[in-house]
């Protein structure tokens, strides 16, 4: 290398260095200015700051935006300084990245509203497209799909070229299609390809994207869009039938769970127990107490709280049931009207007692993590809590059935309810069996309360809202027959859910009641009537 060439190179390197030395502070200055805007506590300033920080390319951009998303970004209105609280509780200055001992006293969380949360999503989307975690890349691609921001096209193309994960690749392809559809200067062929991609995605988001394109499109594209929309709609209509059926099963499982205890006390024993709903409520409050204890003493075990609550609710509600049978109902056998009035009065007493003890307001019963959220099955959303309740209900039903069929107590119960005098003369202590049967029914109502606390209010009125439905299910299914209760509950649930989209919730419920009344006229003993001499006894 000649001396002149070397000199020239040296000069170039020096000028480059000089340029960087000047440029870098100017660059950092713009970034710092943007960060300072977070401290203004003004939504439009925060919006500008998000855009500027996300576009800056500064390595601190991602920590800042993700801290904002998780409510870990703090600003001090006095000094206009902005801080990030890291996951390990250490504090750093957002503008410089320098560590800070502690937050200033006046520092407060940077506030967000829905508009800003969308902006944060978009910013995070473009910042995490290259994340090493495929799940993060997929969610980034999904947020790009929603925002279909033209600026992200290049990044998406780059990410797509590098992508190896199959799901992530599909997500990126969809995101790219969404951007192209909204890009005014994209070629017609590109747009047609994009429509095909979105069409094959086929869900409600795809439909939303296509319908929001508007009608001012070239004829060929407009036609393709219309075709894609009607194909997606047809597909979704089919899925909505599946969805209704699932909702019906889920409602049916709740009805069954609430009614199953009544099927014992009313169905098998013939006691019109108006306090049945209150046993459900007591089960729900037992769950609340269990969770409170776990929360304060053993917070790590919260996810298992329901496993503790189920047996406890059975014992508490069952014990109260036995006490009610021994204290009140045994004097009233064969006097249905008095039983009805006495148990109804009792239900009011229990409600007011709970109201006095726990207060009139709703109590918070948390969902364990395995019961929160949902997953997608095809085009329908299945929520975990409903799924587990369905499984739980069927399990309770199976256990109960097995108990009645295979245990000694079950045999005695059936004997006493079918022919009391004969059972007594065979040496069965009928009054003990009565108490245990009533306790069993009440205990199962208590278990139902544990499950219902996951989807409904835990308030003193909880039971009231289920008592009518429970009687409906038992009468419709056929008194004295557990299988009838099962079929009745699911029939009513599914019928209700297919009527609801057509008639609305209020009319749907009325229609169901009318149908049941008509049905009972035709078959007074319900779906599965008991036959034989037991009926006449």
């Amino acid at each position: 290398m000649s001396a002149t060439a070397f000199d020239r190179l040296r000069a170039a390197a020096f000028s480059l260095l000089l340029l960087m030395a000047f440029a870098a502070p100017a660059f950092a200055g713009a970034f710092e200015d943007a960060v300072t805007k977070f401290a203004n506590d003004d939504f439009s300033d925060t919006a500008e700051a998000i855009d500027a920080v996300a576009a800056s390319g500064n390595p601190l951009a991602f920590p800042i935006i993700s801290a904002l998303n998780d409510e870990r970004l703090f600003a001090d209105p006095e000094s206009k300084k902005v801080f990030i609280k890291q996951a390990d509780d250490k504090i750093i200055d957002a503008a410089t990245g320098a560590a800070v001992d502690k937050l200033p006293d006046g520092a407060a969380e940077v506030r967000l509203n829905n508009r800003l949360r969308r902006a944060v999503d978009t910013a995070l989307g473009s910042l995490t497209l290259m994340s090493p975690d495929p799940a993060k890349r997929i969610s980034a691609a999904q947020s790009v799909f929603k925002s279909h921001d033209e600026a992200a096209l290049q990044a998406v193309d780059e990410a797509l070229a590098k992508e190896t994960d199959k799901t992530a690749k599909a997500a990126f392809t969809e995101a790219r299609a969404a951007i192209l559809l909204f890009k005014p200067d994209a070629s017609e062929a590109d747009k047609l390809d994009a429509i095909a991609v979105v069409k094959s995605k086929g869900d409600q988001e795809a439909l939303a994207l296509l319908t929001s394109l508007g009608s001012d499109q070239p004829p060929l594209i407009a036609k393709a869009i219309a075709g894609a929309i009607s194909s997606i709609q047809g597909n979704l209509a089919l899925w909505s039938m599946v969805q209704n059926a699932w909702y019906g099963l889920s409602l049916g499982s709740v009805l069954l769970l609430a009614a199953i205890g009544l099927a014992i006390t009313f169905g098998v024993m013939g006691v019109i127990n108006m306090a049945h709903g209150e046993m459900v409520m007591i089960g729900a409050y037992t769950t609340f107490v269990v969770q409170e204890v776990i929360r304060t003493r053993y917070p790590g075990l919260f996810d298992y709280s329901l496993f503790v609550a189920v047996p406890l609710a059975f014992i508490v509600a069952g014990a109260i049931g036995v006490a009610i049978e021994r204290g009140i109902i045994r004097f009233l056998y064969g006097r249905p009207l008095e039983t009805l009035l006495a148990t109804w009065g009792l239900s009011l007493v229990i409600q007011q007692a709970v109201r006095t003890a726990f207060g009139p307001t709703n109590r918070e019963v948390g969902n364990p993590s395995w019961m929160s959220g949902a997953f997608e099955l095809g085009q329908i959303t299945i929520t975990y809590n409903r799924l587990w309740i369905l499984v739980f209900t069927l399990a309770v039903f199976a256990i109960l059935l097995a108990m009645l069929r295979y245990t000694a107590l079950g045999l005695e119960m059936r004997a006493v309810t079918q022919n009391r005098r004969m059972a007594a003369s065979m040496g069965i202590a009928t009054s003990r069996v009565d108490a245990l049967t009533f306790g069993l029914g009440s205990g199962i109502a208590g278990i139902a309360g544990v499950a219902l606390s996951q989807i409904d209010n835990v308030s003193p009125n909880l039971g009231q809202s289920y008592i009518i439905d429970s009687f409906m299910v038992v009468v419709f299914g056929g008194v004295g027959n557990l299988w009838g209760t099962l079929v009745g509950a699911f029939t009513l649930g599914i019928a209700n859910k297919f009527l609801e989209p057509v008639a609305g919730a209020v009319l749907g419920k009325i229609a169901i009641l009318v149908l049941i009344i008509l049905f009972i006229q035709k078959r007074p003993r319900g779906l599965f009537a008991l036959k034989g001499r037991a009926v006449e006894a």
């Binding site: 509203n113 969308r118 909505s240 918070e364 959303t381 929520t383 409904d456």
Partner: protein, 438 residues
């Protein structure tokens, strides 16, 4: 009075004489006690049992707290205030009976009470007939202005309309779901909102109206419908007039089906701090509520009130809410009116109340209007993870409450004016009292 009594006794038979003597002794005892400390009686007519106990019990406590505070300051007109609490048990006809009992038997000077519109409608004839005063603290559907009732909660133009305006301007919402419980307040509010949205150019196909029964708990279908309605490519929002207990399962279902506020925000008119206390609010982050008061609002009055309230209830976590603030304002206005006319006589107090001003808890001053509604600020709050609301928008000043909605054909010409016109439904077109309504 005593001579009259002895005269009566002389006419009585021996058997009744005995009973009457007992009564007289008791009466005399009460009389001497009353003389020792004469009180002004304040009626509290809120359900302490039944469905509405969840909301109304707090309001009973609020009035007891306010009376306690006032008595610490020396009472009113030199007399102590005495609360008379009755329990109408969420039973609408019982509200009327208990109101009659309060006014005739307990001789209360004023009643603070009711929550649901149907309970208010049930007690109206009683208050008119016996000429007493009712302070009603809850947001309601409007279309009413009565001489004996003072409405300290929001009328639709103080809650629903500003909330819709906010969504239209700030969130650019184009499609609307109006979801409510099936009774008079949601139905009337939604009628007003529908007329208002249409006047702003929203098409019929972009409005979905849905009603559910009281205490509805299975929201799967409706939430799925909302999701479907929201995927038509236009920004969608839900305006919820769902009442009471049904809200918890509704919000749980929203959270579980993954409807985020940033996609489809829900703005509620009946969900406050108290209702949120029973829900895990993390999945609800960003959903909205429109009220005239939030516990999180920073003002010296509010901070003082919350502190005093939590000390009074001995519960440092006890929340405050909008209807409580309405009672605070109403109570203050009543005290001021009584002190102004130096009497608790119903006619005098009713005439004195319009024009009375009282500080609200959010740093402004509310005024009683001639239509017996008050001026209030309107706030839109977003639900935060801690169960409180973060105010994201508020009206620039106080909004005067309209007794009659300007959006509905049947009521747009009506005004309530108990000062000049002495009429609750004065028709400004025909210049006559009594166009429509009661």
């Amino acid at each position: 009075m005593l001579t009259q009594l002895t005269h009566d006794i002389a006419k009585m038979s021996r058997r009744r004489w005995l009973a009457a003597t007992a009564g007289l002794v008791l009466g005399l005892a009460a009389f001497t006690q009353a003389k020792a400390q004469e009180t002004i009686k304040v009626g509290v007519l809120h359900s302490l049992s039944g469905t509405m106990a969840i909301s109304e019990t707090t309001l009973k406590d609020t009035i007891l707290f306010l009376i306690d505070e006032q008595n610490k300051k020396g009472g009113v007109l030199g007399k102590k205030l005495e609360a008379v609490v009755v329990d109408p048990a969420s039973n609408w006809p019982l509200f009327a009976e208990k109101a009659r009992e309060l006014i005739t038997k307990n001789k209360v000077s004023v009643v603070f009470g009711c929550w649901t519109s149907v309970s208010r409608k049930s007690v109206l004839p009683v208050f008119k007939e016996l000429n007493s005063i009712l302070f009603y603290p809850v947001q309601y559907e409007g279309e009413e202005s009565e001489r004996n009732v003072f409405y300290t909660g929001a009328a639709p133009n103080q809650q629903a309309i500003p909330a819709v305006d906010y969504l239209m301007k700030d969130e650019k919402v184009k499609r609307w779901v109006l979801a409510g419980t099936d009774y008079v307040y949601p139905r009337t509010t939604n009628k007003i909102l529908e007329a208002y949205l249409k006047s702003k150019g929203v098409k019929q196909e972009d409005i979905m109206i849905n009603y559910t029964p009281f205490g509805h708990s299975d929201w799967q279908t409706i939430v799925a419908d909302i999701k479907k309605f929201g995927s038509a490519g236009k920004k969608t929002a839900v305006v919820s007039t769902i009442n009471g207990d049904a809200n918890v399962p509704f919000y749980k279902e929203l959270g579980n089906q993954g409807i985020k506020a940033k996609d489809i925000p829900v703005v509620a008119f009946s969900v406050g701090e108290e209702e949120l206390a029973g829900i895990d609010t993390k999945p609800l982050l960003g959903h909205l509520a429109a009220w005239n008061y939030f516990q999180s609002i920073k003002s010296p009055e509010n901070e003082k009130f919350i502190k005093a309230w939590q000390t009074y209830t001995k519960n440092p976590k006890r929340v405050t809410n909008d209807p409580m603030e309405a009672h605070v304002i109403g109570f203050d206005m009543w005290v001021k009116a009584v002190e102004k006319v130096k009497s608790t006589d119903a006619d005098k107090v009713i005439d004195a109340l319009p024009g009375i001003e009282a500080k609200n808890l959010t740093g402004g001053t509310s005024k009683m209007l001639p239509n017996h509604h008050i001026t209030k600020p309107v706030f839109i709050g977003e639900i935060k993870a801690n169960g409180q609301f973060d105010v994201v928008w508020k009206t620039p000043g106080l909004v005067p409450g309209d007794a009659w909605s300007k959006e509905l054909d049947g009521s747009k010409d009506l005004i309530g004016d108990w000062v000049g016109k002495k009429c609750g439904n004065y028709n400004t077109k025909t210049n006559k009292c009594g166009g429509q309504g009661s």
